[in-house]
C-alpha cells in the first residue's frame, strides 16, 4: 500500500483549555512495500501520527491518502499495533490473538490452528489459555504482536512493538518480523525508540522534532538485505546509526 | 364530664378521609366524644390492619365490616362487634341501563362479565349473597377483578355490571352519564344487596377483654358514636361543613359553604321542633332540593354521597345489629367456604348491650 501524507497536523484540547498542537504539520510519502521507522522524542506526536494513518484520528488539517484514496476510517487492509498491549482481559491469549480472525468470520478450528502455529514463534506456546492479567509485560506485548500478524495487512502500523521486550527477544522477534515482511510486500510504518533497531530494520528512518512533531531528517538506509544481527557491528551501520543519533541530538539542542 | 381530663383514644378507620366518615368528624368537632371523656384521633388503614391492630391490643376501637369479624374470629382474633354503623348493607350491583345491556333482573347476568374489586371483603360477600338470592353462584357469571376502579371500568364498557358501594359509585357513574362521559350507557341501574338479604355491615369493634375490663369505656364510646351518628343523620349540611376540615379536596367554594351554613342553621331550628324521623328524612330531601337549584350536580356529588350514606345509616335504633343479619352473613361466608370448617359462635361475635345502655 502506498501512503501519502500532506501537511497533516493534529490539535488537541490542552489541559488548561487552550489548543495543544500535538503533531505537524508534517508531510510524508511511503512507497508500496517500504519499511519506514519513525523516531522522535517522547510526546512529539508519533502515536498520534500512527493513529491518523490508521484512520482512528481525524487530522485537524491535511490529507492522508492510501493508494491515492483519502483515508477517513479504518481500512481492513491496515493493521495497527498500539503502544500498549491493549488486550481484552476476558479473552485468553489465543482468543486475543484470534480476535481479528473471528471478526473476519474465520471458523473456530481454522482460527485455533493459525494461532497454534504462531504461538511458538512468540514464545507463548505454554500460555495459549492464559488470561492477560496472568502475563508479564513483555508477554502481553507479544500477544498484541500476534494479533496484528494474523491480520496479514497490506499496511502494518507498529507503535513501539518491542518496547517491553528484553534485548535478545527484541532482536529475534524484530528480525523474524523482517523476514515475514520481505515475503509479503507489506508496507510498514514503525515507531521505535531504539536507534539501532530503526537502522537495522528500515528502508528509511524519519526523525521527528519535539512537539508538535515535524520531519527533521529523512535518512535512507541502504544496507543490504536480508539484514542480520552481525550488521549491527559493521561500519556502514555505525555511520547510519550515528547519523540518526546526531539528527536527534541536533533537534534536541 | 367535660371537666374531667380527656382520655386520648384512637379510632382506626378504613380507606382514606372521606365524607362517609362525617359522623366521626362531627363527634370530634361537636364534642360528642369529649362529652364521654375521649380525645379522639382518627387513623386510616387497610381493613385487615385495622382488625389486627385492635385484636393485638394496639388500638382500642376500629371500624370494619361485619364479615371481617366473623372471619377474624375464626382465626383466633378475639374481637367483638359492639355498634352497627351501616344499618343497611352498602354493597350492590350497578348494571348498564336501558341503552346498554338492559339488565332488569339479576338472573340476566348469567354469563356476563361482572367486575369486582377482588374476591374478598364486603363486596364479595355481598355479591355472593345477591347471586344466591337469585339461585345463582359465581360460576354462572364471568367474574373479573377490577380493583377499586368500578366507575372507570364500567364506563369503558369492559364489564356489564360491577359490584360497588351503592352510596358512592353509582353516583359517580350517574354523574358521568349526565356529563356524557360514560360511553353511551345512559342511566345505570342498581341492585342493592340489602333489598334481597339482610347482611351485617360496618360497625365498631373492640377487643373482647375490654368488654369486661373497661365496660364503661366501651359504653361511653358507643354512646358517643351513637350521638355523633344521630347528629350527622339529622343535619347533613352541618356534617358536610365539619368534614371540610378533615377531607381535603372536598368542594368548598365560598357560596357553597355559605349556602350550607344557612341550611345548617335552618336545620338546627327545625330540629328544635322535635320532628319525627320521617320529617327529618323529608327535610334532607328539601335541603338537597334547595341546593340543587343553586349548584350543579358536580359540586353536589359528595353531598349526595353523604345523603346516600345517611339512608344506609338511618334506623329507628342506631347501632343495633340483628342476629338474623349475622346469620345470613355467616351463611354467605360458608357458601364461599371461607371459614374452612371452623365453628364461629355468632353470639360472642357481637353484642347489643351497649346500645341498650345508651338508649336510656
Amino acid at each position: 500500500m502506498k501512503l501519502s501524507l500532506r501537511d497533516i497536523s493534529v490539535d488537541f484540547r490542552g489541559a488548561n483549555g487552550g489548543r495543544l498542537a500535538a503533531l505537524g504539520p508534517i508531510s510524508l510519502d511511503v512507497a508500496e512495500g517500504e519499511f519506514v521507522c519513525i523516531v522522535g522524542p517522547s510526546g512529539c506526536g508519533k502515536s498520534t501520527l500512527i493513529r491518523v494513518v490508521a484512520g482512528l484520528q481525524a487530522p485537524t488539517t491535511g490529507i492522508v491518502e492510501a493508494d491515492g484514496e483519502s483515508i477517513s476510517r479504518p481500512s481492513s487492509a491496515t493493521a495497527i499495533m498500539f503502544q500498549d498491549a491493549n488486550l481484552m482481559p476476558w479473552r485468553s491469549v489465543q482468543d486475543n490473538i484470534a480476535l481479528p480472525l473471528e471478526l473476519a468470520g474465520v471458523p473456530k478450528a481454522a482460527r485455533y490452528a493459525t494461532v497454534a502455529e504462531l504461538l511458538p514463534q512468540l514464545h507463548l506456546e505454554d500460555f495459549a489459555g492464559a488470561y492477560p492479567a496472568e502475563l508479564s509485560g513483555g508477554m502481553a506485548q507479544r500477544v498484541a504482536l500476534g494479533r496484528v500478524i494474523v491480520q496479514h495487512p497490506r499496511l502494518l502500523l507498529l507503535d513501539e512493538p518491542f518496547g517491553a521486550l528484553d534485548a535478545l527477544t527484541r532482536e529475534k522477534l524484530s528480525l523474524e518480523l523482517l523476514q515475514v515482511w520481505r515475503g509479503s510486500g507489506q508496507t510498514v510504518v514503525m515507531v521505535t525508540h531504539n536507534i539501532n533497531e530503526a537502522v537495522l530494520l528500515a528502508d528509511r528512518v524519519i526523525v521527528m522534532s519535539s512537539r508538535p512533531g515535524r520531519t527533521v531528517a529523512d535518512i535512507s538506509i541502504d544496507l543490504p538485505r536480508p539484514r542480520r544481527v552481525e550488521q549491527l557491528f559493521c561500519e556502514a551501520f555505525l555511520i547510519l546509526a550515528r547519523e540518526v543519533r546526531s539528527a536527534i541530538e541536533k533537534e534536541a539542542a | 364530664r367535660a371537666q374531667e381530663a380527656l382520655q386520648d383514644e384512637r379510632i382506626l378507620l378504613t380507606f382514606v378521609p372521606n365524607i362517609q366518615f362525617s359522623p366521626f368528624y362531627l363527634g370530634i368537632q361537636d364534642g360528642h366524644f369529649a362529652e364521654h371523656g375521649f380525645n379522639v384521633t382518627l387513623e386510616h388503614l387497610q381493613e385487615p390492619e385495622v382488625l389486627d391492630l385492635v385484636a393485638a391490643g394496639h388500638a382500642d376501637f376500629g371500624i370494619v365490616s361485619g364479615e371481617q369479624v366473623i372471619l377474624a374470629r375464626a382465626q383466633a382474633r378475639d374481637v367483638v362487634y359492639v355498634f352497627e354503623w351501616f344499618q343497611k348493607y352498602p354493597v350492590g350491583l350497578v348494571v348498564q341501563g336501558h341503552n346498554g345491556s338492559g339488565i332488569s333482573e339479576i338472573s340476566e347476568l348469567r354469563d356476563r362479565k361482572v367486575g369486582i374489586p377482588g374476591r374478598f371483603g364486603a363486596s364479595y360477600s355481598g355479591l355472593t349473597a345477591l347471586l344466591h338470592s337469585a339461585g345463582m353462584t359465581e360460576s354462572d357469571i364471568e367474574l373479573t377483578e377490577i380493583g377499586f376502579h368500578a366507575p372507570d371500568v364500567f364506563c369503558s364498557k369492559v364489564v356489564s355490571a360491577a359490584v360497588v358501594y351503592i352510596n358512592n359509585e353509582p353516583l359517580q357513574i350517574l354523574n358521568r352519564s349526565l356529563a356524557g362521559e360514560c360511553s353511551d350507557l345512559g342511566m345505570p341501574d342498581v341492585f342493592p344487596v340489602a333489598e334481597q338479604v339482610d347482611l351485617v355491615s360496618n360497625g365498631l369493634i373492640v377487643h373482647s377483654d375490654m368488654l369486661e375490663r373497661e365496660t364503661e369505656k366501651v359504653q361511653n364510646m358507643v354512646s358517643a358514636l351513637g350521638q355523633a351518628l344521630k347528629s350527622a343523620i339529622e343535619n347533613p349540611a352541618r356534617a358536610y361543613l365539619v368534614s371540610l376540615e378533615y377531607v381535603e379536596a372536598l368542594p368548598n367554594e365560598v357560596e357553597y359553604v355559605e349556602a350550607l351554613q344557612q341550611l345548617s342553621m335552618e336545620q338546627e331550628a327545625f330540629l328544635d321542633t322535635q320532628p319525627s324521623r320521617e320529617d327529618i328524612a323529608q327535610s334532607r330531601l328539601d335541603m338537597r332540593g334547595q341546593l340543587g337549584q343553586m349548584f350543579d350536580f358536580d359540586m353536589l356529588e359528595q353531598f349526595d354521597v353523604l345523603l346516600n350514606s345517611i339512608d344506609l345509616w338511618d334506623a329507628e335504633v342506631l347501632g343495633f345489629s340483628e342476629l338474623g343479619s349475622w346469620e345470613s352473613m355467616l351463611a354467605t361466608l360458608e357458601l364461599l367456604e371461607f371459614l374452612d370448617g371452623s365453628e364461629v359462635d355468632l353470639t360472642a361475635s357481637f353484642t347489643n348491650v351497649f346500645i341498650m345502655g345508651s338508649s336510656e
Partner: protein, 242 residues
C-alpha cells in the same frame, strides 16, 4: 438463615408478638404442607412465575436495548430520560384503571407491571456499563473494522457485563415485587392474590407461606444471576487470584 429461624422460633415461643401477627414456624409449616398438597400453592406460584418470566423478558430486553442506544447517543438520553423516569416513578395505582381497561385483569397487566419495574435498573446499568467501555479497546475494534453488532458482542457486552449483571440482580429481585404488586391491583390468581386473599381471611400462616414462596423465587432468581455471573466473569477470578 438458621439463625433467623431460631430468632423467629424464640419470638413466637415467648409470645413477644401475637401469634396471629407472627405465627410460630410450626404453624407456617403446617399451612405450607396443606397449601402444597391441595395444589393451591403450585397454581398461584405458576401464575406469578409466568408473569415474572415474561415481565423479565420484556423489561430486560427493552432495558438492555434502550440502554445501549442511549449510551451510544447521549442526545437520546436527554430526550428520553424525562419520559422514562416519569414512567418509573409513577406508582402503578395511578394508572391501574388504564391497565385494567386495556389489558384486563389477567397475566398481561402483571407482565407490564413487572416489565416496568424490571426495566429501569437494567437500563441505567446498561448505560453505565457501556459508557465505561475502555476507549482504547473501542479503537481496537474500530481498527479491526468490526461491525456494530460485532463491537457489541465482542467488546461492549463483555466489558459492560459486570455492571449489567449487577442491574440484573436488582431487576431479578424486583421482578417478584412487580408481579405481586400488579396482582394486588387486580387479580384472580398468583401469589400476590394469595396474600390478599389470606390477609382478608386472616389466615396469617398462609400469608407467610405465600411470602416465603415469593422470597424463595426471588432467591432462586438472584442465585441464578449470581451463578451466571460466576460463569461469565470467570476470567476476573483468574485475574485477581495472585
Amino acid at each position: 438463615m438458621l439463625l433467623l429461624l431460631l430468632v423467629w422460633q424464640l419470638i413466637t415461643a415467648f409470645g413477644l408478638v401475637s401469634a396471629f401477627l407472627l405465627p410460630p414456624p410450626a404453624q407456617v409449616l403446617d399451612a405450607f404442607v396443606e397449601a402444597v398438597s391441595s395444589g393451591l400453592l403450585a397454581r398461584h406460584t405458576l401464575t406469578t412465575l409466568e408473569e415474572m418470566f415474561f415481565g423479565l423478558l420484556l423489561g430486560v430486553s427493552i432495558g438492555l436495548s434502550l440502554g445501549y442506544l442511549i449510551a451510544k447517543a447521549p442526545l437520546l438520553e436527554f430526550i428520553l430520560s424525562p419520559i422514562i423516569v416519569a414512567f418509573q416513578s409513577t406508582p402503578i395505582v395511578a394508572y391501574a384503571p388504564l391497565l385494567i381497561i386495556w389489558l384486563g385483569s389477567g397475566v398481561e397487566s402483571k407482565i407490564v407491571t413487572t416489565a416496568v419495574i424490571v426495566f429501569f435498573p437494567m437500563l441505567v446499568n446498561t448505560i453505565a456499563g457501556i459508557r465505561a467501555v475502555p476507549p482504547q479497546l473501542q479503537d481496537l475494534m474500530h481498527s479491526l473494522n468490526a461491525r456494530p453488532w460485532q463491537s457489541f458482542r465482542h467488546l461492549e457486552l463483555p466489558s459492560a457485563l459486570p455492571v449489567i449483571l449487577a442491574g440484573l440482580r436488582t431487576s431479578a429481585t424486583l421482578a417478584v415485587i412487580g408481579a405481586v404488586v400488579g396482582e394486588f391491583v387486580s387479580s384472580g390468581s398468583g401469589l400476590g392474590h394469595l396474600v390478599t386473599l389470606a390477609r382478608n381471611l386472616y389466615d396469617t400462616p398462609l400469608v407467610f407461606v405465600s411470602v416465603f414462596t415469593m422470597t424463595f423465587i426471588a432467591l432462586s432468581l438472584y442465585g441464578a444471576v449470581a451463578l451466571l455471573e460466576w460463569r461469565l466473569l470467570a476470567w476476573r477470578r483468574r485475574s485477581s487470584a495472585s
